[in-house]
Amino acid sequence: MKGRRTLLALAEVAAWWVPLAALWLVLISTVDPLELAVGAGASALTAFVARGARRAVSGR
């Protein structure tokens, strides 16, 4: 049961991460590896924040 919940949480964070990383990719001016790495990290951080905000809004 607990493993399934963790899996669901991970899936949600990943689902937030994809559009956030895509947004980063669109908004930067030049695409290079360093920029991509920073974007991936920032998107991961923001994905966790987004999950927290979603949970706070839906009241759970």
Binding site: L23, L25, V26, L27, S29
Partner: protein, 150 residues
């Protein structure tokens, strides 16, 4: 210098000038509407200027304004809710005119940009601009009072 800057001057004089006239006098509802329309009209101006100067980096200004303009209007809608509740500002015509102008400018600049990442960025700005301002004017008109616990 070119047509883009001429269009920017036109929108600046007619649109932003009109909102300036609206915000300088009259009742509170008129001023709040004019402030909302000012951000909705300045964003296309910034897009047109970026295209006119040939500097894609200037588009960032329009992006920031498209995000922060509706935020500012929501601040007013939230903190002036008591004063605005008596006669809420319903400005359908100007709101939709500003939204149509923003969509037209984004479309024209998108055609001039051509396909690529810049086009996607431009479309993101357009969605934020039009959607944000429609939501902001709806909040200003008192359409989002249910969740208000004060």
């Amino acid at each position: 210098m070119n047509g883009w800057i001429l269009a920017a001057v036109l929108v600046l004089v007619t649109g932003v000038g009109a909102t300036l006239w609206g915000v300088a006098g009259g009742p509170l509802r008129r001023r709040a509407t004019a402030q909302n329309l000012c951000t909705a009209l300045a964003c296309p101006v910034l897009l047109l200027l970026a295209q006119g100067y040939g500097r894609p980096a200037y588009v960032d200004l329009a992006l920031v304004l498209a995000v922060l303009g509706p935020v500012g209007t929501l601040v007013f809608a939230r903190l002036l809710a008591d004063e605005l509740a008596d006669d809420p500002p319903h400005a359908r015509g100007p709101t939709w005119t500003a939204a149509a102008l923003g969509a037209a400018v984004v479309g024209a600049v998108a055609v001039a940009t051509g396909p690529g990442r810049a086009l996607v960025k431009l479309l993101v700005i357009g969605v934020l601009l039009v959607g944000g301002n429609l939501i902001a004017s709806r909040a200003l008109a008192g359409g989002m009072q249910e969740g208000r616990g004060d």
